[in-house]
């Protein structure tokens, strides 16, 4: 499971995570992604990045399904703290309360943090 806690664009973490996810998926690993804290901002709809001169995430998140990466989990409390709901997100995800997210993490073989 790839654990994403950083906002997009301000640092390189979010992009690096996506790159490694795609590589892992290409090697047919069982990949899932969790989005918590500022990481939920990565999934916000409607990124227009032309003026800051970097590539937007939205299309790549949309393409994850083609790589059989369909297990995307989002922390409910992190969304709420930021005034967001699942409707604000660019791709279909499973929204989980924090306690359930914790249990899910407990079950993983490996957690990689970005």
């Amino acid at each position: 499971m790839f654990v994403n806690r950083k906002a997009p664009y301000g640092t390189i973490y979010a992009w690096e995570s996506l790159e490694v996810v795609l590589i892992a998926a290409a090697f047919e690993q069982d990949v899932s992604m969790a989005f918590l804290d500022d990481g939920v901002y990565q999934l916000k709809k409607g990124h227009q990045t032309k003026s800051i001169g970097v590539k937007a995430f939205e299309k790549t998140f949309g393409a994850l399904e083609d790589y059989d990466v369909t297990k995307l989990y989002v922390d409910q409390e992190s969304l709420a703290e930021r005034g967001l709901t699942a409707d604000d997100l660019a791709v279909p995800v499973e929204v989980l309360p924090r306690a359930e997210m914790g249990k899910l993490m407990e079950e993983q073989d490996v957690l990689l943090s970005f």
């Binding site: 950083k6 906002a7 997009p8 664009y9 301000g10 640092t11 804290d37 500022d38 901002y41 916000k44 709809k45 409607g46 990124h47 227009q48 990045t49 032309k50 003026s51 800051i52 970097v54 937007a56 703290e81 930021r82 005034g83 967001l84």
Partner: protein, 97 residues
């Protein structure tokens, strides 16, 4: 003084620390723009400081993050030219890291 803040208020306390400096202006850039969002965690503190601080946010960074349509009333959006004007307008500028 103009404070230039580039960190998310959820991740680092720079925005809140700047508010404690008294009065002036705060320009939110990069991940700092998340402090300018309606319904976000920093809204109450920003609103409470409106008498003491003027608030600005860089429009390019709001657009990039998909939040340009939900900026708190009372935060003025500026483009890159507006950024330069603000820096010129204030005698001292402090860029938070």
């Amino acid at each position: 003084m103009l404070h230039i803040i580039n960190k998310s208020p959820f991740d680092r306390p720079a925005f809140y620390s700047a508010l404690k400096t008294g009065e002036g202006a705060i320009l939110l850039i990069e991940d700092g723009v998340y402090a300018a969002v309606k319904g976000g965690g920093a809204e109450a503190k920003l609103k409470a400081a409106e008498g003491k601080f003027k608030f600005y946010a860089l429009i390019a960074d709001l657009e990039a993050r998909g939040i340009a349509d939900r900026v708190i009333d009372g935060v003025t959006t500026v483009d890159y030219a507006g950024f330069v004007n603000l820096v010129a307008e204030y005698k001292t500028n402090q860029s938070w890291l």
